[in-house]
Symmetry: C2
Subunit: 202 residues, 2 copies
Amino acid sequence: MKIITISREFGSGGREIGKRLSDTLGFVYYDSEILTQIAQETNLDKNYLDRISEKGLPSYNLHYGRTFGFAYNQTAVNALVAQQKAIKELSQKGDCIFVGRGANIILRDYNPFKIFVYSDLRHKIERCRERSTAENFMSDKELIKQIKQIDNGRSKLHDLMSNTKWTDCDNYNICINTAGIAIKEIAVFLAEYIKRWFETQL
Amino acid sequence: MKIITISREFGSGGREIGKRLSDTLGFVYYDSEILTQIAQETNLDKNYLDRISEKGLPSYNLHYGRTFGFAYNQTAVNALVAQQKAIKELSQKGDCIFVGRGANIILRDYNPFKIFVYSDLRHKIERCRERSTAENFMSDKELIKQIKQIDNGRSKLHDLMSNTKWTDCDNYNICINTAGIAIKEIAVFLAEYIKRWFETQL
């Protein structure tokens, strides 16, 4: 089974790269589809699961006298476990692409091709602006806050699942900075490279 | 002027990628050539300069009573400054590729295409073995020690010149993990991608 995982900074174009690779390579694309399956299996709300994936686990502080501690919400932990199980199951159904959800770590034993997609803040803002509508208009300040919050959540989730830093290239087979080049062009090159990479793994 | 910089872990194949890109793209390749020019200008020994580039700056501890401090060797600092000047000068002579020496940081204002080449320890050991001769045979343990020492030196030099982590992908346009795929194949793909990248920067 050939598996591609895409980890991506918010606004960097990772989702578009995933869709394009899926079209070119004929791999099944999983993103919010994962959440639908988990929501069915766990009777949890899809938006709740999405929040956990994007912002990390909700936690609360504990203290007993002078001892301080910290615990995760049990429902959230159960949801993450269910998500990991679902990702593993889906990955075995056929060649596929997972965007986000820590799939690079969850599927590491299956030798996936792991991509990290990132960009600089200016280009991420531009990209978010292109996708936004009049109704959800945000000021630059609000947008920057949102980008940082979401990336911070994704980074925290990575930390929770792995002992390494989210943006450290050691976690990936290739890291692509999308600043100053069209996603379409990147996807063309990546598809060729990935095809070759899988051939050499046989 | 089109500039490519290659930062690379020891044994990952970064030097070979640089040579191959130089052949394919017709860019001038700079590596130890930089040292020769600096050695001439500063009357410093070439091997000494090489040691600084590979192992970071020699430093010594200071203490006055109970106050501890730390200082860099002035000759080494001067050599690094000379190297930075030489790299900037060479970069303006024509399209070129710099391997190592912190060129990605030194030349950041010239919008270079910045590559980071890395690999896992197993593949780095294999690669070092392929290049070694009977005379300089090392045990696995010695080889691992050498790889870690050199990478640690390069990482420290990066820290000294920049506020970011050497292996953090934010410092580069692309990061390529060479484990499990031939350098030759990577170079072909990279050359195409870089050509396209420079076109889109115009």
